[in-house]
Amino acid sequence: MSASTLKVEKKEMLRRIRRNRSPKKIIRTSLHYLFLTVVTAIFFAPIAYMLIGSFKPTAEVLDGINGFALKNLSFNNYLQVFATFSDESMGFLWRFYANSILVSFVIVFGGLIVNSMIAYALARLRWKGRDAVQVLVILLVILPFEAIAIPLFFLLRDFRNTYFVQFLPFIASAFSIYLFYTFFIGLPLEIQESARLDGAGPWRVFRAIIIPMSKPVFASVTILSFLGAWSSFLFPLMMVDNPLYVPLPLEIQVFFTQPPTDWGPIFAFGVILVLPVLAVFLLFQRWFIQSVAASAIKG
């Protein structure tokens, strides 16, 4: 018997194992779905609670499990959010949106360029000082932002309430460099080398060969740095209080600190805050999930 017939037989046997439609198997599959459904319900409950609550009067939001009841729904909470942010002193909702989008955009795109370039130089070029820079980047990967938040505030306190203080410190990221680096190291060398033999310089190789081959890692870094930038809280909390420059997430405090807490508008604001990210996530979820998985391949 040849190896291939053996293989076919093995496949057939495995197919029978998989295709087994005994009652036991059916019960097991049903339990599997039941478990997944219950867990999904638990996971989705807080989100559903926020969604439903955002359309309900505050008194009916905080009412035990009746918080899930679909009655007395209206857009009043949303109207109240728009009304709250409609003058110079409180700021404007569209402006917070614009601030968050602008800051996130610069962090993401600036970061793609800056971090991919240095990662390519570290992964594929030979130059004086490369080893030292490599060690520096590896050391910085484990340094969380929280570790430098306070001195950064101390150094930049004269530049509070500006845009550039919100994005400049976050463009270069050791973690993004590391993601690019591990991806570039894994790319096949042959094409790069033959291009160099044909006289292409490092810039040309990077632009014409590396970047087109590296779409997955560019997507990963885009998503991960966007999620971080869009939800950043600690640093804007320290650096920005002028409504002209405040990013969206910070403003949720406006509703949260005025007692008695007005839950309806808080939830409406929450939906406004998360909706764009959620929409992008649902559209590109395959990429989101792949990029998170890719972030772990290091280690």
Binding site: Y120, P151, R196, P249, I266, G270, G299
Partner: protein, 306 residues
């Protein structure tokens, strides 16, 4: 033919440097210099509210944080809280992530639909997650969680003061952190699962290993590196705990949810004491480095044993 020689064996000194320069400058300005500033400031008495300039204090800030019988207990309390938080979150979140990933790794119709929901909380900003849960955690019988407990226990379980009871508050913060973070871990574990060669499972099936045996003898060993990675990440995440505490409890009740980062931030912004905040920052980094080094060493040892 100098070009060939240059590209193959020569150096790219200029291009390498130019390509690295933007990143290098930004990292130096906004990460390296601030970090050294923290070390420097930690040896001074710097106060935003003080009229006079910084005074050199030597190790006084560290003495007050770590040794002084009056001012050190609060720091140790915060550190203990971080450790307790890690001891709850790391095993619970990792265990749950593995369970969910294994359930999602099955070849069943519509599995991607469930995956979407488990991952969804990851895209929520932590500030928003904390606020949704603040409402879930309302202490009286009108709170969502208390309402659910009451429903499922047929009225046996009395309303719990989730965030106001010092014995429970940290656990509540852990609960919402797990909800927010487990999807991220699950996806990483799922990727790890898909790296395990199918042949191993097939061989085990042909050897009549049952599900449980396959899980312990194929899945868990196959996930070893993934699990170590996930543990390191979650441990460090536990030490960084700030947003949730800032929004939900402000470190209370009676310091039950004080954390190292919360101490650092309040020292700087409520007391104006930048020296103390910087010293806490330096200690925080030393702890993170220590944890990373220990975990790397354990990893290496395991490899050698193998």
């Amino acid at each position: 033919m100098t070009k060939v020689a240059k590209s193959k064996f020569g150096q790219d000194n200029l291009a390498g440097l130019l390509m690295s320069l933007p990143g290098l400058i930004l990292l130096t300005l906004f990460v390296v210099i601030p970090f050294f500033t923290a070390i420097y400031l930690s040896f001074f008495n710097v106060d935003f509210n003080m009229v006079q300039g910084p005074q050199f204090w030597g190790f006084e800030q560290y003495r007050r944080i770590l040794v002084d019988p009056v001012t050190s207990p609060i720091f140790y309390k915060a550190l203990m809280n971080n450790m307790t938080f890690a001891l709850i979150v790391v095993p619970a979140q990792t265990g749950l992530a593995v369970l969910l990933a294994v359930m999602l790794n099955a070849k069943l119709r519509g599995i991607a639909f469930f995956r979407t929901f488990f991952f969804m909380p990851v895209v929520f900003p932590m500030s928003l997650v904390a606020i949704i849960w603040a409402l879930m955690f309302s202490r009286d019988s009108l709170g969502m969680l208390n309402g659910l407990l009451n429903l499922f226990s047929f009225g046996y379980i009395q309303p719990i003061d989730w965030l106001g009871d010092p014995n429970i508050a940290l656990l509540s913060v852990a609960l919402l952190s797990i909800w927010a973070g487990v999807g991220f871990q699950m996806v990483i574990v799922l990727a790890g699962l898909q790296e395990i060669p199918v042949e191993l499972y097939e061989a085990a099936s042909l050897d009549r290993a049952n599900r449980w045996q396959r899980f312990w003898n194929v899945t868990i060993p196959g996930l070893r590196n993934t699990l170590i990675f996930v543990t390191i990440i979650t441990t460090i995440f536990s030490l960084r705990l700030f947003d949730q505490v800032f929004i939900l409890t402000k470190g209370g009740p009676i310091d039950a949810t004080q954390t190292v980062m919360y101490q650092a931030v309040t020292s700087a912004f409520i007391e104006g004491n930048v020296g103390r905040a910087s010293a806490i920052t330096v200690i925080f980094v030393l702890i993170i480095i220590a944890i990373t080094v220990v975990q790397r060493l354990v990893l290496r040892q395991n490899r050698e044993v193998k």
